[in-house]
Amino acid sequence: MRIIRRTDGSALLRDVALVCLADGIVGVSFGATAVAGGLPWWVPVAMSLLVFAGGSQIAAVGVVLAGGSPLAAVVAGGVLNTRLFPYGLAVADVVGSSSQASGSTGSGRRWLTRLFGSHVITDESVAFALRQTSPADRRQAFWTCGVTLFVAWNVAVAVGVVAGSMMKNTNAFGLDATFPAVMLALAIPTLREWRTRTAAGTGAAIAVALTPVLPAGLPVLAALGGLATIWRPRRPATVRGSGTSGSHRTDSREPDGTSREPGGSGWEPGGDGAGWEPGESGRLDAGDADGLLMGEGL
């Protein structure tokens, strides 16, 4: 039975298709809201091709639509995308690295692969790669998801642009509620620890309170001041007392996976903070993969 023997490949395609569908709805909403808010059609289209990171696209356009400066939009979007750096470390082996063809002719192609592969590093493609074990499967999963999602996202945004420019009154469709809803859905799974909740709650309060008085865009950047609530001076490693020495801690998570006491741990490594946050090693592993697919995507 060919179908049964091909289960793995078709399961991958099915999962990728579901992720593309979910992100596609967000993409349509992004394109429609951007043009309905008065931006020219090429802004969401160019962003989707060149930035290709939904959360930061929505954040940046949200800042601009609220009247904020382009610089504030770039800063907000850029901060959201810092996570792509640890992602790149996690999938470096599948984004065109030394295991591919070597030699002078292979070198140029390897660089092309690496340059394009880097562009399709997303929450979703990294999650699919990390769920696989063998290098070949990792490579296949990463590239299948990355390339398919790139096409799907850009098509969806273009569809949204067309739809948004045909709508007379987008407020009647409640489209303006989709941006905050997407950002909330991205953030909620990362709120598992009290320290993160405190920082986020404080930041949101700062931003809302300052909105009436500051130029648009600045209140959200001022919200980063909420991070001050979770700053703790680094404590000596011996205080934690689990017998590990130096900077190499084995595992500071509770054995049953529950989070630790709220508010106590400052900048200690480990824990269950953001869903896409790497573990103690600073690298993402298979255990982080499902978190990337649980709604934190884009």
């Binding site: 954040a59 770039v74 690496r114």
Partner: protein, 102 residues
């Protein structure tokens, strides 16, 4: 949004992406820095969600939009699928406006 801003965001984003594969064997990120950036992203997302749900310009946005976003937040906390969350936000807001809520 001027083209320069789009290019700047695209450049910053691509830089973060390319740095991983390039630096793989040369550096590792301190976990504290990783957590700081993870928390910064969460703070930004929640603050953007709050301001874009509650405010329009320098004033209050009306009740329909925050109500829709609140429903979306409850659904997201209950791990509803992404499309459900997004469509629910728009639907609740649209229905409230249809009913005359600003």
């Amino acid at each position: 949004m001027p083209p320069a801003a789009i290019l700047a965001l695209a450049g910053v984003t691509y830089g973060f992406r390319l740095a991983g594969p390039l630096c793989r064997d040369r550096i590792s990120i301190p976990p504290a820095a990783t957590r700081l950036f993870a928390d910064a992203a969460t703070v930004l997302l929640i603050s953007l969600a709050a301001t874009s749900a509650l405010t329009a310009g320098h004033g209050f946005a009306g009740w329909a939009r925050p109500a829709g976003v609140l429903v979306a937040g409850v659904l997201a906390a209950r791990r509803a699928p992404f499309p459900v969350v997004v469509i629910a936000a728009a639907a609740v807001t649209a229905l409230l406006r249809l009913a005359g809520v600003p």
